[in-house]
């Protein structure tokens, strides 16, 4: 899986599509479960941005660390976090990956080095610098992939972290999911320079802007960047330009953007584009798409059933894990 060459064989292409469809179906059912009050709190869905998580994760190994955002279901699924534990977490059940303590915005999975959804915009960037530092000081060949939205670029942490990572030439892949709106504020209303990848140059960080709705392009760019990082070239920044086609969170009247704009981006959505291309190029057989869609539906339904059947943490354990007894091995 390593290297910056992409072998577009039949199975690989189907896999990319299947990963994106799994995320899309998961998110649709999340919306449904939210409206049925099975899921509460804030819920941020990933519709339209699937190509980024799927493409970047393909370029990583299990040794690498992933630091995620609060819109991280797709990042978690693409990283391999089981949907059962993910959905149970959203249901607040003890079978959830964080025993119901994290919820939608704080998904952690130690076994997959998935170090958190982070609901403080920009809060994960310093962490990624730290995991990269720790890995390098211990001689590990590992990259820390840090996802953040373009809103995080407004924060000081973005600039502090790029600087520190570059200063110490740390193995960090900064992945900016630029969906053009930080909640309801358009990029141009928040940043004086809207070409985000250009900001990296100020810190001597190599960067690239890529069509974030093209899963193959994202994967190729991620492989290039990860390859350069592993070669000792220091951090890299990948700006993936995309669009979320759903509301910011569930309770959002979307007063800040036109329906026509949303509709236009939907037509350029990563799944629609990739699937259309595969079909028109005869790269998939007739029933393969239907099969992987059915499989995704089945997987998510099973995850919902798993979450439904789960249990709530005992109240006696309310204060557990506030103070740790030991560092988990």
């Amino acid at each position: 899986m390593s290297g910056d060459k992409l072998h577009l064989d039949h199975q690989t292409l189907l896999h990319l599509l299947a990963q994106m469809v799994r995320i899309r179906v998961f998110e649709r059912r999340c919306a449904e479960m939210y409206q049925r009050e099975k899921i509460r709190g804030f819920l941020h869905l990933y519709d339209g941005e699937e190509a980024i998580a799927v493409g970047v994760m393909e370029a990583l190994t299990p040794h690498d660390a992933v630091i995620a955002t609060y819109r991280e279901h797709g990042q978690a699924i693409a990283r391999g976090v089981p949907m059962t534990h993910l959905m149970a977490e959203l249901f607040g059940k003890v079978e959830g990956c964080c025993r119901g303590r994290g919820g939608s915005m704080h998904i952690f999975d130690r076994a997959r080095r998935f170090i958190g959804g982070n609901a403080i915009v920009g809060g994960g960037l310093p962490l990624a610098v730290g995991t990269a530092l720790g890995d390098r000081m211990q001689g590990r060949d590992a990259v820390s992939a840090c996802f953040f939205g373009e809103g995080a670029v407004d924060e000081g942490e973005f600039h502090e972290s790029l600087n520190l990572a570059a200063l110490w030439r740390l193995p960090v892949l900064f992945v900016c999911e630029n969906n053009y709106y930080s909640m309801g504020t358009a990029l141009a209303d928040a940043e004086s320079v809207t070409d985000i990848h250009a900001k990296a140059a100020g810190y001597g960080v190599a960067s690239e802007a890529v069509d974030g709705n093209d899963v193959v392009a994202v994967e190729l760019a991620a492989r290039r960047a990860v390859g350069a990082i592993r070669a000792g070239g220091g951090p890299q920044l990948l700006e993936c330009r995309t669009y979320r086609t759903r509301a910011h969170s569930m309770f959002d009247a979307q007063l800040y953007r036109d329906k026509a704009e949303v509709e236009a981006w939907k037509q350029r959505g990563p799944i629609l584009r990739f699937q259309t291309w595969l079909e028109s190029s005869h790269l998939v057989f007739d029933d393969e798409v239907a099969k992987l869609e059915a499989a995704a539906e089945e997987e998510v339904s099973a995850a919902i059933a798993f979450a439904e059947a789960g249990h709530f943490e005992a109240l006696e354990d309310l204060e557990r894990f506030v103070v740790m007894d030991e560092v988990p091995a």
Partner: protein, 326 residues
């Protein structure tokens, strides 16, 4: 017995930690080439090299966050923040990541990180370098907060702090760095769980910590000459508070004065007071009194700064009022 400074005790602790565990490294502003704002880390760069003694940019949020990340990746970082006022630039990382991730992740991740910082007033550094905000940090579940006030604690608290799987913040009072005392070499370890009775007495319990301990002990000397036997308790650990020791003392003396360089409103002193009321209300024979800093941003001029701070005279007056009410 050798006489050393508090600063030297801190340095010995750091050196011992760096020798003992290759996972330990330091980072912070001007700790390496400069030798540390308060010269605590002077000489460590030459001994341990730039990989383990790391100067950082003036990016508190980034280097504290990097300490958290490195701790989660298996290292045992010691992060130095020049002074507690600067730590506010990293408050997000300390609160929202270090203190929250273990619980938020359902126990999947621990954050074995030590953050040291200078605190307190007395050096005419005015309002942006002199405050005592450790009480704010003591508010946060998931953190352990230490305030070494003696040479022994300065020398020995670091090792158990590094062994703790949780984030530990160590507050070193700026007025203690030059204090000299004999280091009892028979003591080779201290706990980071208990308060300590620094002087026994029967008439009143004076509860304090950090830079106010020498003032409280001086006050106790004065009071002894008046026939008032004050028991002086050094909290040592500001979170979790060892209220068992404090409450047991107050149950014996029936009176309590709390000395805290923080502001009175919403302070650590307020917390100790509230817990005493919860725990030993029916043992109290007088209202609990507090000696805290005046509620002003710390002023520059020496006479104003001194007027704002707790001192032995104010402690003596408070104790007199509690023990022999007018």
């Amino acid at each position: 017995m050798t006489v050393i400074t508090y600063r030297e005790a801190c340095k010995q602790a750091l050196r011992a930690a760096l020798v003992a565990d290759p996972r330990v490294f330091m980072m912070g502003e001007d700790i390496a080439a400069y030798g540390g704002c308060y010269a605590v880390s002077k000489g460590l760069l030459a001994e341990f090299g730039a990989e383990r003694i790391r100067d950082t940019p003036l990016s508190e949020s980034a280097f504290v966050g990097a300490g958290i990340g490195a701790a989660m990746a298996g290292m045992r970082p010691i992060v130095e923040i020049m002074t507690v006022n600067f730590s506010l630039l990293a408050l997000d990382q300390i609160m929202n990541n270090a203190a929250s991730i273990p619980h938020m992740s359902g126990g999947q991740f621990a954050v074995p990180l030590v953050i040291r910082m200078a605190t307190g007033a007395g050096r005419q550094l005015a309002a942006q370098h002199s405050h005592s905000l450790e009480g704010w940090y003591a508010h946060i579940p998931g953190l352990r907060i230490l305030a070494p006030a003696t040479i022994e604690d300065a020398r020995h608290m670091l090792a158990p702090a590094l062994a703790d799987p949780n984030p530990v913040l160590i507050f070193e009072h700026v007025m203690l760095y030059n204090v000299e005392a004999e280091l009892d070499e028979r003591i080779d370890a201290v706990d980071i769980t208990h308060a300590s009775i620094r002087r026994a007495g029967t008439d009143v319990t004076v509860v304090t910590y950090g830079g106010s301990l020498p003032r409280a002990l001086a006050a106790a000397d004065t009071l002894a000459a008046e026939g008032i036997a004050a028991e002086v308790i050094d909290l040592r650990v500001l979170r979790p508070l060892d209220m068992t020791t404090v409450a047991a003392s107050v149950a014996r003396t029936h009176r309590c004065v709390i000395v805290d360089e923080g502001w009175k409103s919403g302070s650590l002193a307020a917390e100790v007071c509230a817990r005493l009321v919860e725990m030993v209300f029916y043992e109290l024979d007088a209202p609990i009194a507090r000696v805290c800093s005046a509620e002003v941003p710390m002023p520059y001029a020496a006479h104003l700064e001194q007027a704002a701070l707790p001192n032995a005279g104010r402690i003596v007056a408070a104790v007199r009022q509690v023990v022999r009410p007018a």
